[in-house]
Amino acid sequence: MISPFFLYQPDSLEEASSLLAQCGEDAKILAGGSELILLFKMSLSHAKYVIDIKRISQLGHLVFDDRNRVLRIGALVTHRTLENSEIVQKHFPLLAELERKVGNVRIRNVGTLAGNLCFADPHSDPSALLLAYESKVRVLSVRGERTVEISDFFVDYYETALGKDEILIEIEVPKLPENSSGIFLRFCPGERPIVTVAVLMRWEDGACDNGRLVLGCVGPKPIRAREVEESLKGKSVNEILARAEDAGGRAAALCDPLGDVWGSIEYKRQIVKTLVSRGITQLCQERA
């Protein structure tokens, strides 16, 4: 039984942010509700006021901004919309592929990517890939709007940099340069992923010019493995192939997983090592 609450259904961002400012900590934002309602049911969260943002038309957009070469994902865009979108499939195929794997189709029909990011469940899929893309989020409050790098947005387990009076309104995902390739791997024996790995590489003259490696689900927030990235920089396809397993090992040492029913710390580190070396190997083999 969920505690009773006042429901607001504003139809503009101004109304929504004003309501949030007035209600403060007693209010929660509702989009798809696929995380929020679970929290309410388990009494892990409660609200005197629920602000349903689904009537705000300014939040429903999914467009490729050609000029700035970024994908703009409005806060109300569901996982299902992203997975089926021709724009996403064309410009961000890795993201479309990832979105297909989130939860199950019922969750994807109502759950939003924005809501997923705000909940900051360490065991989630999109965070690692969005960090690898160096995405940003735009947030709004009565105090104004600001843009936050996704690397700064995730703070800790279930904690983001979103202020109490702020609403996440858009996610910006920059498109990778033409000579890039990428892969997203996940280990998910149950409902939520236990390890995710995102590898992106930009190739210049047969060498890796700009590699990005992100480890997800193995720490309070996704981990950008910069040391490993540095070790691959400027190396040729064959040199990287030779170093793939070593890179996997070093990535595993960087992560900080919790031991739980899905695996011990050592087990999860081993999975990280395997997925990282597998991902790097596969990207190089595609390139060779």
Binding site: M1, I2, S3, P4, F5, F6, L7, Y8, Q9, P10, E15, S18, G33, S34, I37, L38, K41, V50, R80, G103, N104, V105, R106, I107, N109, V110, E191
Partner: protein, 163 residues
């Protein structure tokens, strides 16, 4: 700032189509869709099991999309079309998916079946001629403890031919 029309403190009027018929009801904001369907509308075909949108026995179709009624508020039906398992058959005439499930043994205890059949309908409405792999990927969303899934897939393949 005017709050009129924006605030619902105790009661919300919802106007929607239920299994093809116009429906007008009043719900409280905190009322869950599954409770609304089972207790207020008296339609017990939609089941409750895991209660955390994993198992899918609570699946209903909202504007044709499969959703978990256990984890959705009742007020979300406003202005939409809700289809429960009771709405599939037309009087005595079963929906093709239902008769296929019977012919091919797509159920044993039957508890997951309403959700499974509605999920199959959502699939076939989106993709009328799916491959076996596409069926498996989509239907992976719902859990069955009895059948081992094989006959569910066969039932759906059979239904494809009839629709």
């Amino acid at each position: 700032m005017s709050r009129e029309g924006l605030t619902h403190d105790s009661m919300i009027a919802v106007h929607f189509r239920l299994n093809g018929q116009e429906c007008h009801e009043i719900v409280t904001p905190n009322e869950l869709l599954i409770d609304f369907i089972r207790n207020r509308l008296g339609l017990a075909g939609t089941k409750r099991s895991c209660d955390i949108e994993v198992c899918g026995v609570c699946t209903v179709l909202l504007n044709g999309k499969a959703v978990s009624s256990c984890s959705m508020f009742a007020f979300e039906v406003n202005g939409k079309e809700l289809l429960t398992i009771e709405g599939l058959a037309k009087r005595d005439k079963l929906h093709p998916i239902q008769s296929s499930f019977i012919e091919f043994g797509g159920f044993q205890c039957g508890f997951c079946t309403p959700g499974m059949i509605l999920l199959a309908k959502a699939l076939l409405d989106e993709n009328p001629n799916p491959t076996r792999e596409e069926i498996q990927e989509y239907m992976d969303a719902n859990i069955c403890r009895c059948t081992g899934y094989q006959m569910i897939v066969e039932s759906i393949l059979d239904a494809v031919g009839k629709m």
